[in-house]
Amino acid sequence: MTNEYIFRAEKLNKFFGPTHANNDVSISIQKGEIRGLIGENGSGKSTLISLISGIIQKDSGMMFLDGEPYEPKTPLDAFNHKIGTVVQELGLVDGLPIGVNIFLGRLDMFNKNGVIDLQGLYKAASEHLSYWNLGKFPVQNLASTLSVEEKKMVELARALSVNPNFLILDEITTAISLNNRKLLYSIIEQFKKQGKSVLLITHDLEEIIKITDNITIMRDGVVVDTRKSCELTPDILKRLMVGRELSGSYYRNDWEDQYEDDVVLSVCDLTVEEHFEDVSFDLHKGEILGICGLSDAGIHELGETIFGVIKPQKGSIYFISSNEKIKVKNSIHARKLGIGYVPKDRDKQALMINDSVENNICLPSIEILQGPFGYIRPAKMRKLSSKVVNDFEIKAKSISQYIRGLSGGNKQKINFARWMNEKVRILIMDCPTRGVDVGVKAYIYSVMNEAKKQGLSIIMISDELPELIGMCDRLLVMKEGKVVKTFYRSSGFTEESIMEVMM
């Protein structure tokens, strides 16, 4: 009997302590189906995927693969059942060659008399990469030589290397550039043609509607609904995800350049080798300045350089306040001057995930909190963090809870909110809404808007054009390390016109 479902899960349950992360989750995926999975942060999507790919074990329920009962104990089990997974925000083993990374965990297939045939492995890896058209990688080089996006592509190659019948992609598109996205779509298309299935998770609602056949929506650990993609619009999806009606647009609704004439930050001829060259611009008081570009346009490095984390080879950054022009020396100096930075990689660059909410919130403000003899009063710290938690509606059990236990959106709120102290005049935000659900997104935008009105200047670096278009007063488009065009809000910008410059 042929089975029309490739994968079926029945009443899966998973608890983390008292939290019911997956509550009677049932999902069936047909052969040749491209399924989208969507939900807010913390709705249980990642838990479901971890269960399917054997990273964690279910508490109760059943899974079937091709009609057979399926109980993966380890990720290796999943590979052996031809399930390929690309997990969100993980990456590769930096200390091993790219080729080995692709086959790690299954190296024994190259075993020749107890020794691994590396030549054969590298050859297989290159052939595999070129088969899927994923680009030419020097497979014998260490994975640490790759950029974030290249790593993601290798991860994809790794998932494909098990020749999967069922491919699971968790938030892969946010990390990769447009050209690679197109490649990904074509791979998905190819899967469909071969009668294989894909489960795709993304926060990009338009994308998910465009490329999937059906979309399953999860909320609070429960599957809310599964609908045909062609019947859906982003607004319906949003409503289903959040469970209530969201106002039509969470972006700014004015179309004017609203900022004062005072320049607060001036960037002159900034150059960082291999990333960008001769970048100059001024940032005004109360302005939201957007910076966009393709993945290797150098936009993220520009942000890091302005904050002083990367030392430029040439050029300088001036902080201007009341006719004083101060050259920003490094990140320490920048913070002292009142420049804040919200990094792209929350868990690795921004937050101490094994520390309390309190300490994370107080981190940039410690020097403001300290009294005579450098005394930091614990009560002051508690007060500040309670205030931030209340003001920003951060869902934490208490301020002493570990960050690890919070959802991505709440993490990002902390990452962002802690810079909202009285000293910060300029805030550099790198992908402020990456991997964050719509509710938190809307919240962050509204806070940005509010802060802008108070006179805060924001540099907003992002891969997502809609949010830049929605929020920025001015938008710098970068290409291959150079600023190629500046758009003004008043003169209007559309995705098409920006894209044209970017590509």
Binding site: P75, L118, R158
Partner: protein
């Protein structure tokens, strides 16, 4: 900056540039070999050719064998993030047992005793460490105390009989002398190189050492990898013990964590090798740094530099300088 039109060839161009970097990398390798050799030639002139005498080079190699084997053991144990300080105490026990067995059944006993003891004790260590989740630092210190205590008990029991701890005398001494010791060194290098670079044990342990979480996701059984790697390492430690016993003829037990002093030089060798890792393969780097350290002692002795003081200062300085040189362009986080 780069100016290539299509994105595809753009990314290709980038990789080609990396390939160019690779060849620069080879030049770097060559340069560092030269950098290591030049001072040796200079020293040779200073020592009136005595340093480069074949017999002296051989004797340096002989001295480098035990630290190299121990450091290879570290490659498999420490790389996965286990800092086991009880290895010194394990070595003492392994030496004693291999000595006892060697007297009874010869070379077979010598090697078997060393490997068996270090294998068994390391297995106990790793199992308990993983089971109890005690940080390896503390666990190693605690186990070092326990193993030292066992060694001391044995020493005391021998003393009661009017004997010292087991001494090989003339039996089973060939393993610790030329040419066997050199052959064993070569075999050890091949073994370490192959296991570390060409087997799933090696790759798994490197994956776990590099990024435990990712390795787990990629289907590596972390616990198994650590134990398998640790056991391979323990074989090297066991071999080191057997060679040491055969080389020195007798190893005394000690107390009060003094056994840890036994692994300071191998540890320095291992850390030095890690510093060279960007240029040489780790297992090869082990032997290079082991020879560097031992020849440093040798040269300085020949030059008449007082031992116990300036020689140690020179070794310490060498370790720091090599560390600094190796990390020159490193940008990441260092603990």
């Amino acid at each position: 900056m780069k100016s290539v039109d299509s994105e595809k060839s753009y990314s290709l161009g980038k990789f080609q540039e990396r390939r160019f970097l690779v060849s620069r990398y080879d030049i770097k390798k060559l340069l560092s070999v030269i950098l290591i050799i030049i001072p040796y030639i200079i020293f040779n002139i200073f020592t009136k050719g005595r340093f480069m005498e074949s017999s002296n080079i051989l004797s340096i190699l002989v001295h480098a064998v035990v630290p190299a084997f121990v450091a290879w053991g570290f490659c498999f144990i420490f790389t996965s993030g286990i800092m086991d300080l009880s290895i010194g105490a394990i070595m003492i026990l392994a030496c004693i047992v291999s000595g006892i067995l060697a007297i009874k059944i010869g070379y077979f006993g010598l090697i078997l005793g060393g490997i068996l003891v270090s294998f068994a004790l390391e297995y106990i260590n790793l199992k308990c460490m993983i089971k109890t989740k005690i940080p390896s630092w503390v666990f190693g210190l605690g186990m070092a105390m326990i193993y030292e205590g066992i060694g001391a008990l044995y020493g005391a029991s021998q003393l009661k009989l009017g004997k010292q701890v087991v001494s090989l005398g003339v039996t089973a001494r060939k393993l610790g002398s030329i040419p066997w010791i050199i052959i064993v060194l070569a075999l050890g290098l091949i073994m370490a190189y192959i296991i570390f670079n060409r087997t799933s044990i090696g790759f798994d342990i490197r994956a776990v050492g590099s990024n435990r979480e990712v390795a787990k996701m990629m289907g590596v059984d972390v616990t198994k990898a650590i134990i398998r790697g640790g056991l391979v390492g323990s074989v090297f430690i066991g071999l080191a013990s057997a060679i040491n016993e055969s080389y020195a003829g007798r190893v005394m037990p000690t107390t009060g964590l003094n056994s840890i002093a036994l692994i300071f030089i191998p540890l320095a060798v291992y850390l030095l090798a890690q510093a060279f890792e960007q240029i040489f393969n780790l297992t090869v780097a082990v032997i290079i740094s082991s020879v560097i350290v031992e020849s440093l002692f040798n040269i300085l002795t020949i030059l008449g530099v007082p031992s116990g003081t300036w020689q140690q200062v020179a070794v310490g300085a060498c370790v720091i300088v090599c560390g600094v040189l190796a990390q020159r362009h490193y940008k990441g986080v260092v603990k």
